[in-house]
């Protein structure tokens, strides 16, 4: 508990630093526009004639694919670039406190972006009577998914001082973490049980690493304990990787 106060200071500083530039506001506006365009135009929200947010939540993984790496890229790459990493790693506090603090700050920032989509919720409630419990679990699933991608992006950011590399790497890896569990990608690699290097159970265990099926349960209104554990362990694993990368990736 002795690290609770420093951790809160780190979260505050990070959030302050997000909003010290226009980039944070730009990010929030772009994410709202993206959600809106995808839901109303591509998702044909009105034409469907249903008062629910199914299409809205359907697009979340794809919006995150672009937006989350944009948030996570700076988390550590910036500290490396400005040399402040040397400052914060010598302040008599274990590095995990910074890793956790920075992660929570970025997660709160994305939570704000999610909260700002509340007009969607008001709209469907105005137009009809949606199942609000499904909407709630969908939001929860989306929030957990964003946390997983953020933690992974943060670990990637710790491995480089170049923000652009951090961005692109995070996008590629996120893309596969989301896609790996869809049958389409295995079709793309022309997967067939008898002529593929991996056998069936290997493929199915790789598929279960993917994020999508776990998120889909939430957007159907189900809170499955397995899914919650999946996301939480995804986050913890990524943060541990982040700490290890921080401690090994140092200049001479």
């Amino acid at each position: 508990m002795q690290y609770l106060n420093p951790c809160i200071s780190i979260i505050k500083r990070e959030l302050m630093s997000y909003f010290s530039t226009t980039i944070a506001y730009l990010f929030l506006i772009i994410s709202l526009i993206l959600f809106g365009v995808l839901t109303f135009y591509i998702g044909r929200f009105y034409e469907r004639g249903q008062a629910d947010l199914e299409v809205f939540f359907f697009f979340h993984p794809w919006v995150y694919l672009i937006l989350i790496p944009a948030v996570s890229m700076r988390i550590w790459a910036e500290e490396h670039k400005h040399g402040t990493i040397e400052l914060i790693m010598t302040l008599a506090i274990p590095s995990w406190v910074f890793v956790v603090g920075k992660f929570i700050a970025s997660w709160l920032f994305v939570l704000l972006a999610l909260v700002l989509t509340f007009p969607m919720w008001i709209t469907v409630n105005y137009l009809g009577s949606p199942d609000n419990s499904v909407i709630f679990t969908s939001y929860l699933g989306s929030f957990l998914m964003s946390g997983s991608l953020l933690a992974m992006g943060s670990a990637i950011s710790a491995s480089t001082k170049n923000q652009i590399i951090a961005l692109i790497l995070a996008m590629i890896i996120s893309f596969f973490t989301i896609l790996i569990s869809t049958p389409d990608i295995w079709d793309f690699f022309s997967y067939q049980e008898d002529n593929f290097i991996l056998n069936n159970w290997m493929v199915s265990s790789i598929m279960s690493i993917g994020i999508l099926p776990h998120y889909q349960n939430f957007s159907r209104g189900l809170i499955v304990l397995n899914d919650v554990i999946y996301f939480l362990s995804f986050i913890i694993f990524s943060l541990v990787a982040n700490i290890v990368l921080l401690n090994t990736k140092k200049p001479a």
Partner: protein, 309 residues
């Protein structure tokens, strides 16, 4: 007490530091000098626990920097190379943030903040965004950050780099005033700084320690230690004359022409040669207009020890 024991660091199979040994006690100010790339910054990074040594160990007030990192770091104030700061914060916000991470809160944090603000003359810029400050102010903020928790050991990587002479003077007097009950390590390129500030000098070259002594002893290594410069009345010295005089000179003295065409009497044994020179001048019937003892430049010693073509 700071003890460095058999420190060795290699990076990508290249040896950066080899066999570094020294220890420091309260009240000592150590000047840590060496050419660029000699391993100064790496040593400081190991002392502060930012990097782990490949072998050997560092003990800070009895705590091992590698295995008891947090306890050891509590006693250290560190100004890293280039004075890194969070540019988007104000001076006050930044210093309070560091104080909080150092586990100072409430009244303790405010006291620590006010102390360093006045110590480093930062009161009038405390609400300015760090990015907008001049280089001198930025360095002072970074220095102030290292002093917030009143550490027993101060490790300063080029504390006066980029400061104007007045600011340098301020930093020097600050370091002097702090030095009584602290261990201070300064890395620098400015050797005059070492002379006026440090009680001890360590020179490091290619990752090995090549000198560890007080500045006054270090001076003795100079070829020009205790040398005398004699400006002759009515006569300008040329090479021919030099050769002539050299033949009859006492064995412990060597002759050279200085940059302003005077005679330089160099003491080979480093002992005082005043008497010998006087007798020599009389015996040669030479009249001296001015005799000065040349002050040894530490730069000269530094070059002598570290320069290799």
């Amino acid at each position: 007490m700071l003890i460095v024991n058999n420190l060795h660091k290699s990076f990508k199979k290249k040896d950066i530091l080899q066999d570094i040994n020294f220890s420091l006690e309260e009240g000592e100010v150590l000047g840590f000098i060496g050419p660029n790339g000699a391993g100064k910054t790496t040593t400081m990074r190991i002392l502060t626990g930012f990097l782990n040594p490949s072998s050997g160990n560092v003990s800070i007030m009895g705590y091992d920097v590698e295995t008891q990192k947090e306890q050891a770091q509590r006693d250290i104030g560190y100004l890293p190379e280039g004075a890194p700061l969070y540019g988007e914060m104000t001076v006050k916000q930044f210093l309070l943030f560091i104080a909080n991470i150092r586990n100072l809160y409430g009244i303790d944090a405010t006291n620590a903040l006010n102390n360093v603000l006045s110590q480093f003359n930062l009161i009038e810029v405390q609400n300015q965004i760090i990015e907008t400050l001049s280089k001198g102010y930025k360095r002072r903020v970074a220095f102030a950050q290292a002093m917030l928790h009143n550490p027993k050991i101060l490790i300063l990587d080029e504390p006066t780099d980029g400061l104007d002479p007045n600011q340098k003077y301020e930093v020097h007097s600050l370091i002097k005033s702090l030095s009584k009950d602290k261990i201070i390590i300064i890395s620098t390129h400015i050797l005059e700084e070492v002379k006026s500030l440090c009680s001890r000098v360590i020179i490091i070259n290619n990752g090995t320690l090549i000198a560890d002594e007080s500045p006054s002893i270090l001076k003795k290594r100079s070829r020009y230690y205790n040398c005398l410069k004699v400006t002759l009345a009515y006569l300008s010295v040329d090479t021919q004359m030099l050769n002539q005089l050299s033949q009859n000179i006492p064995k412990n003295i060597e002759l050279e022409i200085s940059y302003d065409n005077s005679l330089l009497f160099i003491s080979k044994s480093k002992d005082s040669i005043y008497k010998d020179v006087e007798e020599f001048l009389i015996s040669k019937n030479l009249k001296a207009e001015k005799v000065t003892s040349e002050d040894v430049k530490l730069d000269e010693v530094f070059r002598q020890l570290t320069y290799s073509k």
